[in-house]
Amino acid sequence: MKTLFKSVLALLTISLMVVSCVQNSNDSSGALSSSKAEKVYVAPGEHDDFYAFVSGGFSGQLAVYGLPSGRLFKVIPVFSVDAEKAYGFNEETKPMLNTSHGFIPWDDAHHPDISQTNGVVDGRYVYINGNNTPRIAKIDLTTFETTEIIEIPNSAGNHSSSYVTENTEYVVAGTRFGVPVPQRDMPIAEYKGNFKGALSFLKVDPEDGGMDIKFQILMPGFDYDKAHPGRGDSHGWFFFTTYNSEEAHSLLEVNASQNDKDFIAAVNWKKIEEYVNNGGGKKMPANYAHNVYDEHTHTATSTMKKEVLTVDPTEVPGAIYFLPTPKSPHGCDVSPTGEYIVGSGKLSADVTVHSFTKMMNAINNKKFDGDAYGIPILNYEDILAGSVKSGGLGPLHTEFDGKGNAYTTFFISSEVVKWKLGTWEVIDRKPTYYSVGHLMIPGGNSGQPFGKYVLAMNKITKDRYLPTGPEVTQSAQLYDITGEKMELLLDFPTVGEPHYAAGIPADIVAKNSRKIFRLEENEHPYAAKTEAEAKVVRKGNEVHINMTMIRSHFAPDNIEGIQVGDKVYFHVTNLEQDYDVPHGISMIGANTSELLIMPGQTETFVWEPKQVGVWPFYCTDFCSALHQEMQGYVRVSPKGSSVPISFTLDDDAVDAE
């Protein structure tokens, strides 16, 4: 019997050792190193290599994903209210969504772009455009929060936006829909020659990334669709694709597709900057909101601006040229060196590539093919570097890998095509699922791409995931582009309809990410920075409660003397100073969202009690083992009641020692 046990023991030991050896070899780059799963697998507790900031399209927000895993980390509210984070619901962030049309709770977010230093993404800010009610937002990448939104006057369909120059000198905001400038009551049929397309250049403060409209160029009323800045040799120029050079005002599907070629507008912004610095341009009355969030008061303020500097392009000769580009071009992408300007004619099979050197030669030789509204048109043949005979249909957008290759999406034929800059030969093509719009290589439209992955963002999802009724999520696909041929690695769903995205190596951003707000730096006017500072103050029918929260109680947590008809402000400060210990608060019957308050932060919600009674409030974010106990009561008396204001904790004063 003993012998038998010994044999079993020996066998067991050997078999287990063998198993353990196989497992060990899996850990290194052994047999499975070529597996697609391994390339996107980020082990539990490990971090991704890249951040991807993916626009939320009609959700109005910006989603943060990790690559290669495709895991969603955060949805940053930008242009739309977000009850989860109280964005647009609390008193502090309501001013962020103010416009000349009043409070607008939604927009259509399109093209995020990361700030750059010397042509390299620097990870300080993301800028993104609201397309519907024209606005540009700035997201601070220390807090991953929207800290500034500026409205763009004289604009409509803010689509050729929000791209930054190579040292973040400017963010641009171009108009897709021509409009009367200034707006006025006039017949729509008089569009042609009367409507304008404003290209706005927003000067960026190098210290805090703040934006201010330096000038607006009032261009002819074409549709300015997409844009990218020059870089390297072409730094100082900006390129905008146009369609509807026909200036149609109805049935554009047909009427704006008449001309064989539209234009890429090449704008020498340095020349125009010099012109306005020397007193050029015309100040025009305007009305637009500039909303800035202060990280010390944790509060946004909205200022209405009343004037904008406009520039008539014909008054700055040599600053703007039109580059003829076939078939209603959409994407406008500039190679990492700045030499090639890629225009994707969306009704074409080919991709048109212009040469910056040839463009400059043609300009210097004054070889023009007429003009449009006084803006010189260059000869297509003079500036053409080449065209990519792809065999695909419907090219839209191009990104670069920094190794001499370009990658273009084809919407109609649902594919990404890899081609070589200079020779224009097609190297590879891979299908997407389905009808791809934008694509993104981290840093792929800057001077220094990080060409490891390309992310394709699709317009149509159909059968890619488990069905969820008529409405399905959007689909994205990740490809490995380190080899000669692209390799599809991963499908993952995205929020809203992503348009553009911007990516950056994680280590550039992660090290600057804030963990808490320091209590001693909190300058919110209603902050209670200690429990002893907590108080309840009546001012007529307004009551201000300066409250604190810490694991796991509120101070005060018993409040009396509130009356029906009062307007009660809960100003709540989270006293925690440790990472990832937010608390929430909500009050029964409050006509607003919860607050979700980060350590050291103060936020405010308003409650207008309508019924007599004793009403509870509680913490909405599970904070500790005693989270369920984190609750309190407010006594509401009839209007005119003699119950005095009182507030306590543990039946004692909040400042008891």
Partner: protein, 153 residues
């Protein structure tokens, strides 16, 4: 019987050593004898706790530090600790007569590890239920709070 135990032991060893993750996760395994024995009684006035502070020499009371320490205590600690009474955590009156200066500072600076590994801190967590919060104070700030506590005996 002995062999059965041996099989179990080997199994346990092999399984532990073969963990699929690259990073080895070690779980504290208590032997029977450890479980059987009641926790050792520690003399609190010799227990320095676990954390960055290993040795503090207390000199004459420094009034400037006391004033600063009081401010820091009120700003960062008073939501859970009163001086005179038990609140979320223990009352602070007489703390320097019950605990070493090092233990006090380590509890402020390294509470997560203290409530998991230091017997006195573990017992306190059992009694008070709420784990001590890390308020991200500096060693200098903790030292000033300690000086303030010296005036509250």
């Amino acid at each position: 019987m002995k062999i059965k135990l041996a099989i179990l032991a080997i199994l346990a060893l092999v399984v532990t050593s073969c963990g699929g993750d690259k990073k080895k996760v070690e779980y504290p395994v208590k032997s029977k004898t450890e479980i059987a024995t009641p926790a050792k009684k520690v003399d609190p006035m010799t227990d320095k706790g676990i954390g960055p502070v290993t040795s503090i020499t207390l000199g004459e009371l420094d009034q400037a530090m006391v004033t600063e320490g009081e401010q820091i205590f009120k700003a960062k600690c008073s939501a859970c600790h009163k001086i005179s009474k038990r609140f979320i955590g223990p009352g602070m009156k007489g703390i320097t007569e019950r605990r070493t200066p090092e233990w006090i500072m380590n509890m402020i600076l390294n509470p997560e590890e203290m409530v998991q590994k230091n017997q006195i801190a573990m017992d306190l967590l059992k009694e008070y239920n709420a784990p001590m919060a890390n308020q991200s104070l500096t060693e200098d700030e903790a030292r000033k709070i300690l000086e303030y506590f010296r005036t509250k005996n």
